[in-house]
């Protein structure tokens, strides 16, 4: 009598029905593909990307940006390992399963993507940004793009749903041969700028020590 089982618990994340149909893939897809074909082709081969980052947060009320330095490792199908060295030591591992954070080599704190759909969303966007995966980005954003004569390009992303607008209301990604800078702007006008430098590609399957960065901590 499983219809009794249908006395179900409903999610709270759903509100009143909307009127429009779900958005379809982005408008100028063809242009974007040609725009990004060169860097994207290179990134498509990459299994592992490693490099340094400079993460600066520009808040309107503070004259100086908050700058963090460190290095990152992106592994296709695994996630992003984000190791902040300055001004403090902190490791963030973003995977499909969620987010794990460990400060000063201390215990790992996890936020499961199951508990927090937003974490999974941000993670997938982050991973898509690294690989210029326009298909994934197109699911979440309206994409526009431009290229200048020196082969530098940039693309603009505007969220399709309000669900992620809380985190940022628009983003731009700029680069030449690879992704060099990501700028995220929130609704209040505060910006987060991520500069990536010294990027090394590897099309080899990641080695054990790289994989170990993503290994779940022992309980």
């Amino acid at each position: 009598m499983s219809w009794l089982a249908a006395l179900t618990v409903m999610p709270s994340a759903w509100g009143a029905p909307g009127g429009e149909t779900p958005a379809h893939p982005m408008t100028d897809e063809v242009d974007l593909h040609s725009l990004l074909s060169r860097p994207a082709a290179k990134l498509r081969m990459a299994q592992v990307l490693q490099g340094q980052f400079r993460h600066s947060r520009h808040l309107r009320e503070i004259p100086q940006p908050l700058v963090a330095l460190g290095e990152f490792t992106f592994v296709r199908d695994l996630g992003v390992y984000w190791h902040t060295r300055q001004p403090f030591d902190s490791v963030i591992v973003l995977t499909n399963a969620g987010l794990a954070q460990s400060d000063d080599g201390g215990p790992v704190q996890r936020i499961s993507a199951d508990e927090q759909p937003a974490v999974r969303l941000i993670t997938s966007i982050f991973m898509a940004l690294f690989t210029l995966d326009t298909r994934t980005l197109g699911r979440h954003f309206h994409i526009s793009g431009a290229v200048n004569d020196r082969n530098r390009w940039f693309i603009g992303l505007k969220p399709r749903a309000d669900g992620i607008a809380g985190a940022f209301s628009q983003a731009t990604v700029a680069g030449a041969d690879e992704v060099e800078q990501i700028v995220l702007t929130d609704a209040q006008g505060d910006r987060t700028v991520i500069d990536l430098t010294g990027i090394r590609y590897s099309s080899d399957v990641p080695g054990a020590e790289v994989r170990a960065l993503f290994a779940p901590p022992r309980p």
């Binding site: 009794l4 309107r60 993507a113 759909p117 999974r120 982050f126």
Partner: protein, 783 residues
């Protein structure tokens, strides 16, 4: 008054009342039929807290109106297209109060509600951290969020929420939903290489009402086609919800009643034609039956506000009893085929029919007195039908049942043959030994009979619906649960405070993996006491000069004016979030249904559970004002209680019937009339034991019918002992019609109807056999 005038007067009086009844039926009942198929509607209200039955009923009803659909395809784009087409088809059907395929865009509005009250809000984790008074880790966490991408995952930015407390509260209130993730505007879950888009619906009307089903089920079928046509890739659709199960059950019951009813009618017609050789007995019998069932339906409709399918099924037992009365009346013709008149038949058959009616009514009266809505309904249905049927036979037949034409010889031949066989029967030593062995086997069978009170086993859905239901569970990863907690208190705040104590226990269960999640109103609107406590904690550890706010903001480089602005904002916030504000704001969207509000002098709310792994752990949650509501377990328990009580009652009714018969006939004859039914009942249970057929409440209900019918056989045989062939024929025909009517129910796909059918199949055959054998001994004694 002459007997003839008396007969005419009775005829006119009864006819007039029947016409009045038909008029009431046609004017008031027919335009607004309501057939219940929910087995739970039959059961007594599970006793809950004072007066909370109605709101809980409403809560359950609301849950029962909800459905989850998963629209899956290999590529997300295809799944989205199909889901959009599916949702659009449902929306335009008008059968649904709500169709949601997209994430609500009110997140910002929701955040705004909470932002206005942020001076009073903390996530449970943050509160515990502040209560320790050690703020250093919290300061560190805030600084890290400012310097790393984790800040991006907060609903609010660093400037808006420098300490992250509001973000954490918002995150704690947002209910998670299984394995889903946000993809643009829809919730998506992946499984087996397919991407599933969620569509949630709430249909208009009660899922068990046929009017709702007639609108919703075709709309879903149409939407399924629309979804498949929306893309040329294969689309999988899995649905979960009460209505499709209810509809399938109702459809099947209707189909079975129609098929079985037709076969049964044809068989009865043939039987009556064969024995009586004319249309009149047949037409009168059908008229009587129609009047009896219409009257019963009308009375039940008015007394109970609707008719349950089970009452209808039992109502078809009226075919048994009511046709029995007709048969008995007409079989009287065989007594004296040459000079028989219907008026003369009355004194011969009237007393037997009235006595049979009395003993049967005693049984049903007891059933009606049991505080069990379903049983009361069945009892009222059967009593009304029997009284009306008996009235028709006694008042209408003497005038209408004119004997014309020749009686076929078939009936007497059968009667003669049976009587002859009985006549040659002798009780020998061997036969007593066989009887003793049989009695022992029956006793052993009774000892091993399997008792079944599990309500789940009594109603089965088609395999396809069950597998879809399971698919939804598998894909979402979080089960849909029918168990929940009811929280009550003297005021809204008392309810919230109790909820807060409950959620502490539930948090432990979540940590122990006993349950996956829970949803409580107090998660989104904490009690005022807790909000004040939050405010104190924030004032002492965060907004006090030199405390967290200063530490974090100064370290980040905010100018003192920015810090002061936030401190002033905190000082200016005076009002905590009240339940009323919460209910009327977008913040309560998706959680409003948890709040039951004021009921009488009490307030109540519901805390729902997700993904229950360990049911026993829930029972260990013992708090004043908190009750675990487990309707399935309660129903099963209730069924067991009533099964036990009714077993005793059945014995009691046999005793009372025995007393009535003993007063009329003396205890010897009374035993002879009663024992066949008792023996048939025991033997049936024994056979069930050996065959592995479960014994449940519905078996017992069927045995109630056996009581009535079996005693009738005894009475008819006893009354007709001067004309044995007629009596044997009459009883045999009665047994045949009942067997035709109920033997077919044994083929039903609905377990509880099958139970009734199987019971009657065995018990009626045995009753008939035993009644004949018992009357045989009687024959010998009386010569």
């Amino acid at each position: 008054m002459t007997p003839g005038a008396m007969l005419r007067l009775r005829f006119i009086g009864w006819s007039a009342s029947m016409l009045a009844m038909l008029a009431v039926f046609a004017l008031f009942v027919l335009p607004n039929p309501r057939v219940e198929t929910d087995i739970l509607a039959l059961l007594p209200q599970t006793q809950t807290d004072r007066g909370f039955d109605a709101p809980l009923e409403e809560f359950s009803a609301q849950l029962a109106r909800k459905q989850i659909f998963l629209i899956g395809s290999e590529r997300l784009e295809d799944a989205k297209l199909a889901a959009a087409a599916f949702a659009h088809a449902l929306e335009t059907s008008g059968a649904f109060a709500q169709v949601q395929s997209r994430l609500d865009s009110d997140l910002a509005q929701r955040a705004a509600v909470y932002l206005a009250h942020r001076a009073y809000l903390l996530s449970p984790k943050d509160r515990r951290a502040l209560e320790t008074g050690v703020t250093e880790p919290l300061v560190k966490r805030a600084l890290r969020a400012a310097y790393t991408p984790t800040g991006l995952m907060q609903p609010l930015g660093v400037a808006e929420d420098p300490l992250g407390f509001t973000s954490h509260f918002l995150r704690a209130t947002a209910g998670a939903f299984g394995n889903t993730r946000v993809e643009g505007e829809v919730l998506v879950a992946a499984r087996d290489g397919l991407e599933f888009v969620l569509v949630l619906t709430e249909n208009e009307g009660h899922p068990f009402a046929s009017s709702t089903q007639e609108r919703v089920v075709p709309a879903i079928a149409h939407a399924r086609r629309a979804a498949s046509l929306a893309t040329n890739r294969p689309v999988e659709i899995a649905g979960s919800g009460a209505i499709q199960h209810a509809s399938a059950a109702a459809e099947r019951a209707k189909r079975e009643v129609t098929i079985f009813g037709s076969i049964e009618s044809i068989a009865v017609v043939l039987l009556l034609l064969l024995v009586f050789g004319s249309m009149r007995p047949l037409l009168l019998g059908l008229l009587t039956l129609a009047l009896a069932i219409t009257a019963a339906y009308t009375v039940v409709h008015f007394v109970f506000g609707g008719v349950h399918i089970l009452a209808l099924v039992f109502g078809s037992s009226l075919i048994g009893s009511v046709i029995d009365y007709s048969i008995h009346f007409f079989a009287d013709r065989f007594r004296d085929p040459g000079h028989w008149t219907p008026a003369a038949a009355l004194p011969h058959v009237g007393p037997a029919i009235l006595l049979g009616l009395t003993t049967t009514l005693v049984g049903y009266l007891v059933l009606a007195a049991v505080p069990f809505p379903g049983l009361a309904q069945i009892a009222v249905f059967c009593m009304t039908g029997l009284i009306v049927g008996c009235g028709c036979v006694l008042c209408l037949y003497p005038v209408l049942a004119n004997a014309r034409g020749r009686l076929p010889g078939f009936g007497p031949v059968v009667g003669q043959a049976l009587d002859g066989a009985l006549h040659n029967w002798r009780w020998s030593r061997h036969r007593f030994i066989v009887l003793a062995v049989l009695a022992i086997s029956v006793a052993l069978g009774i000892a091993r009979v399997r008792i079944q009170d599990d309500v789940k086993a009594l109603q089965q859905s088609p395999a396809q619906l069950v597998s879809e239901e399971q698919r939804v569970r598998d894909v979402l990863g979080s089960g849909v649960e029918s168990r929940f907690f009811l929280v009550t208190g003297d005021s809204a705040q008392a309810v919230l405070e109790t909820e807060e104590r409950l959620t502490l226990s539930l948090d432990e269960l979540v940590n122990a993996n006993s349950i996956a999640s829970y949803q409580a109103a107090s998660n989104s609107v904490p009690s005022l006491g807790l909000q004040r406590r939050n405010h104190e904690l924030l004032a002492a550890h965060v907004y006090a000069p030199g405390a967290m706010l200063d530490q974090v903001m100064t370290t980040l480089g905010f100018p003192p004016s920015a810090v002061e602005r936030r401190r002033a904002e905190f000082a200016g916030a005076v009002a905590p979030l009240t339940v009323e504000d919460w209910l009327s704001s977008p913040a309560s969207l998706g959680a409003r249904h948890l709040w039951l509000g004021q009921v009488g002098t009490l307030y109540g709310s519901v805390v729902t559970l997700g993904g229950i792994v360990d049911v026993s752990s829930l029972k260990q949650v013992q708090l004043p004002g908190v009750r675990l509501i487990d309707r399935i377990a309660q129903t099963t328990e209730t069924l067991a209680v009533y099964r036990r009580a009714m077993t005793l009652l059945l014995a009691a009714v046999y005793a009372v019937a025995g007393l009535i018969l003993a007063l009329r006939f003396g205890w010897r004859d009374a035993a002879r009339m009663l024992l066949p039914s008792v023996a048939a009942t025991l033997a049936t249970v024994g056979i069930f034991g050996w065959l592995g057929v479960p014994f449940n409440l519905f078996t017992l209900l069927a045995l109630w019918l056996v009581l009535g019918l079996g005693i009738d056989y005894g009475i008819f045989l006893r009354h007709g002992r001067a004309h044995r062939i007629t009596a044997v024929l009459s009883v045999t025909m009665s047994a045949c019609t009942t067997l035709i009517a109920f033997g077919l129910l044994a083929l039903s796909a609905t377990p509880f109807i099958r139970s009734i059918g199987l019971t009657l199949l065995f018990a009626i055959t045995l009753s008939w056999l035993f009644a004949l054998l018992a009357s045989k001994t009687e024959n010998e004694i009386h010569g």
